[in-house]
């Protein structure tokens, strides 16, 4: 019965995960939380509101993009509903000099790092392969659709940081680290395991951030692992922590601590954020075929946004903050809709431009062939204006 996997960790035989904020929105004082609570207590109200704000904006984006897919304006949408806390908290924990390697569901992480949301919409509209320059997107690296492959990219990059001596210098404002995201399904891939082996061998400055959303499309996590996933990292010799992934404060504080350790030269860290994919795997998936309503209800009662809102209200956040945010969310969604609909297919030339850094005879030949081929359609062919805004990175 898949239900059991997604029930509280206590029922799957693991220790309590680190939780700073209860589902009711109260700070949790426990032996586990004491280490992290001072970090939260030191945060200004604006930062706490920003946690909440980014989660709300992300959820509104999710709804708009889902609708656009149903309206035929996106080929696909990948919802992150339910996973906002894990993503937002960890994203805020990274410093500007850190490098972030996403899978393909970390939309809000990209947004927080400075990626224009429409760059992601362009991929899912089918007019862009998602190539962007991480130097222009807050070191947020490209989306990787090959499951778990980004963990190797991240480890390789982190090895590079180590070889450059760009971590462990003792200067926390300069030391770099890598934060890599992946899901429970990816832990079954060789790539993720190999990445951990090399990370441990080279003591790379990196944090493995696992969002265990309990479902690899239709395969429940229990079928992939008989042991809690965070324990696997211990087997590789990587210090590891399990957190309540629907608690944005825990996600922030624990990731910050792990990144600090990595930057300081203490080697890699592993975090398993227990969360839940409330929606479909993608717009092409129908989760009602494989999971139960009770499970959904269980996790619905542990919603990351609801508890953060309760926490903020308990601290006396003003009604005007929530009202302004509701307006902002609508404007944000409307802006995404407008700019997504305005996206144009990139010029044909772009196919060839980045194949090699220099001119290449084979590419020239292929370009000429394609031009002849397209010309073969005569006037019926759509004119290739070459003036599309997707010139180099749609809508950038």
């Amino acid at each position: 019965m898949p239900l059991s996997t997604a029930l509280p960790p206590a029922e799957t035989g693991t220790a309590e995960p680190v939780r700073l904020l209860s589902p009711e929105g109260q700070l949790v004082h426990s032996a586990l939380s004491e280490e992290y609570l001072p970090v939260i207590e030191a945060l200004p109200d604006e930062r706490l509101e920003d946690f909440h704000r980014q989660m709300v904006l992300m959820r509104r984006w999710d709804i708009e993009a889902g609708n656009l897919q149903r309206q035929g304006q996106l080929a696909l949408w990948i919802p992150s509903h339910g996973q906002e806390a894990a993503q937002v908290g960890s994203a805020f924990a990274a410093k500007p000099q850190d490098h972030v390697f996403p899978a393909y569901r970390e939309h809000v992480v990209g947004k927080i790092r400075g990626l224009d949301p429409v760059r992601i919409m362009a991929i899912l509209r089918g007019i862009d392969h998602g190539g962007w320059d991480p130097r222009e997107t807050g070191n947020f690296h490209i989306y990787v659709l090959v499951i778990g492959a980004q963990s190797l990219h991240a480890t390789g990059y982190a090895m590079g940081i180590g070889l450059d001596g760009a971590s462990g210098t003792g200067d926390p404002d300069r030391d770099e680290a890598v934060l890599v995201y992946f899901g429970d399904g990816a832990t079954s891939q060789g790539d993720v395991n190999e990445a951990m082996i090399f990370a441990a061998s080279y003591q790379t400055p990196q944090v493995f951030f696992l969002q265990n959303n309990h479902w690899a499309i239709s395969v429940p996590v229990e079928r992939q692992s008989r042991t809690p996933l965070y324990l696997r990292a211990a087997g590789f010799g990587i210090p590891t922590t399990q957190i309540d992934g629907n608690d944005v404060l825990a996600s922030y504080a624990v990731t910050q601590s792990a990144l600090d350790a990595a930057r300081s030269g203490a080697g890699p860290r592993f975090i398993e954020a227990l969360t839940y994919r409330m929606g479909a795997h993608t717009s092409s998936d129908d989760p009602t075929k494989y999971r139960e309503n009770e499970e959904l209800a269980y996790w619905g009662a542990r919603d990351p946004i609801t508890r953060m809102e309760a926490f903020l209200r308990g601290r006396g956040a003003s009604e005007s903050y929530f009202r302004a945010l509701a307006v902002e969310a609508e404007e944000f969604a409307a802006d995404i809709r407008t700019r997504t609909l305005a996206l144009q297919p990139p010029p044909r030339e772009r196919l060839f431009r980045h194949a090699y850094t220099d001119a290449h005879p084979l590419v020239d030949e292929q370009r000429a062939w394609l031009e002849r081929y397209e010309a073969g359609y005569g006037d019926a062919a759509a004119p290739d204006t070459g003036a599309a805004p997707a010139e180099d990175g749609a809508g950038a």
Binding site: R70, Q71, L145, G183, G185, Q189, M278, A280, L296
Partner: protein
């Protein structure tokens, strides 16, 4: 007042059509962006479509219960603004549909391409399905069904250290792999055999190391199916079953009716002793040049058609009411049974291919059709077609022309039968060549000469050297 139409979107990566289940709005209603307009049912599930426009519903363009193709406009909405599509309308939050929230809005479709560990599951789900028989791919080869002795040369008998049964290193490398284990087959092949209810121990593998190949399993399953058909399934509970006519079935019906009622068909048959064809096929199979390539009597028939077409050009033509277009090339169609139904992809300019190239082209076409990947271009522009009824064990048939063509050849099963040679009855590999023609173009004499030419090549493949 500008009006916009909403074309039915593909809501699930590759869906081609959907049924309109229930309209949630009526003409005259005003709608906002993202308000639910309609509930549709795709091949996978029920989906609600949110409005891309704000405005007033002018007309519902498709009735409830109708199935329409992706891209068909389903509703017209009038708006005061210009391009409503680009007008982002912020509306009351309650109006927003959250289609990803599956409690209310089950979403459609096949598993996404974004794997997340689902790859293995998909492989189980789709990759190892019983494969379709391709009409036109190979008369069934004679297969030895001798049961392998299960204890034939057990490794214990030759292991240097028989006391180490689990040590793989103990297995001497000099033992032929095929003999070292009762059954050698890759896991997907074992899965296929399980799905097809085939006993691997009953198969003699034809792989390089004696391993059982996919073809071996399929062949065995087909042989078994002759007997399995004797089992009579129960009727369903309902008195009648209604199967909607759509997709490939609809296209097949249209093509068949068009062909059968516009082209007057005439069919002729010729029995032939194909023993030399069978020998020729065996020699090709054994030759290094054809190593790894599927060779079957179909290949000989395909080559025979190219030869016979040169001698009887009008069978390779098209009737246009004003003129008969005789083609000086052969786009050779192969009728293929696929899970989606009959399709007829063709090999372009088959006349230019060597025997080896033709064999490779037939194999490629088989694989493409089997995987359901034949494109409209693959199926367009055929000039003459073969249907391989022999793969179903049939002796011959009266095929219906592929529309646009004037001849279709049926290759029947090649079986050992009594045959009179020099006044004596002897066993021979015999088949019946059948062919149908468009009688508007092809008269009885040409039809007969063409069919006799085909028969003569099966009788004596050396004629291809001509």
């Amino acid at each position: 007042m500008a009006a916009s139409e909403f074309p039915l979107p593909d809501v699930g990566e590759g869906l081609t059509e959907a049924e309109i289940v229930a309209w949630k709005v009526q003409p005259g209603d005003s709608v906002t962006v993202n308000q639910v307009l309609v509930e549709i049912e795709t091949a996978k599930s029920l989906v609600e479509l949110p409005s891309p426009f704000a405005g007033t519903v002018q007309e519902l363009l498709v009735d409830e219960g109708a199935t329409v193709e992706v891209g068909t406009p389903i509703i017209r909405v009038a708006s005061a603004g210009g391009s409503v599509e680009l007008q982002a309308t912020a509306t009351d939050e309650s109006d927003f549909v959250a289609p990803m929230d599956t409690r209310e809005h089950p979403v459609a479709g096949a598993p996404g391409f974004l794997g997340e560990g689902g790859a293995a599951e998909r492989a189980l789900d789709s990759g190892e399905r019983p494969e379709p028989t391709l009409v036109g791919y190979g008369t069934r080869a004679q297969v030895a069904t001798r049961r392998r002795r299960p204890d034939a040369v057990r490794p214990d008998a030759v292991r240097p250290d028989a006391a180490a049964p689990a040590a793989p290193a103990a297995r001497s490398s000099t033992i032929p792999v095929a003999l070292a284990s009762p059954v050698i087959a890759k896991p997907p092949i074992r899965k296929l055999a399980k799905d097809l209810d085939v006993d691997l121990a009953a198969i003699t593998g034809t792989g390089l190391a004696g391993e059982i190949t996919r073809d071996d399993v399929i062949r065995q399953a087909q042989q078994a199916s002759v007997f399995r058909n004797l089992e009579t399934p129960e009727w369903g509970d309902e008195r009648e079953e209604r199967i909607p006519v759509k997709g490939v079935r609809k296209a097949i019906a249209k093509a068949m009716v068009h062909s059968a009622f516009s082209a007057p068909h005439v069919s002729v048959f010729s029995d032939v002793n194909a023993t030399r064809t069978m020998e020729f096929v065996q020699r090709l199979k054994a030759s290094p040049t054809f190593a790894g390539v599927r060779v079957s009597p179909l290949l000989v028939m395909a080559k025979a058609i190219m030869w016979a077409v040169r001698r009887n050009p009008t069978v390779n033509s098209t009737w246009t009411d004003k003129e008969i277009v005789v083609h000086h090339y052969v786009n050779l169609g192969i009728a293929a049974a696929t899970p989606r139904g009959l399709i007829v992809p063709n090999i372009k300019d088959a006349q230019e291919l060597s025997l080896l190239q033709l064999a490779q082209a037939l194999e490629q076409l088989t694989l493409t059709a089997r995987d359901g990947k034949a494109t409209p271009a693959d199926m367009a522009g055929g000039t003459i077609t073969i249907t391989n009824l022999g793969s179903f064990g049939m002796d011959t048939g009266t095929p219906i022309l592929n529309p646009g063509e004037v001849a279709i050849v049926a290759l029947g099963a090649i079986k050992q039968k009594p045959w009179v040679i020099d006044g004596e009855v002897r066993p021979a590999y015999v088949t019946t060549v059948g062919a149908s023609f468009d009688h508007r173009v092809v008269d009885g004499d040409v039809a007969s000469r063409f069919t006799a030419d085909l028969a003569s090549v099966l009788e004596e493949p050396a004629l291809l050297l001509d």
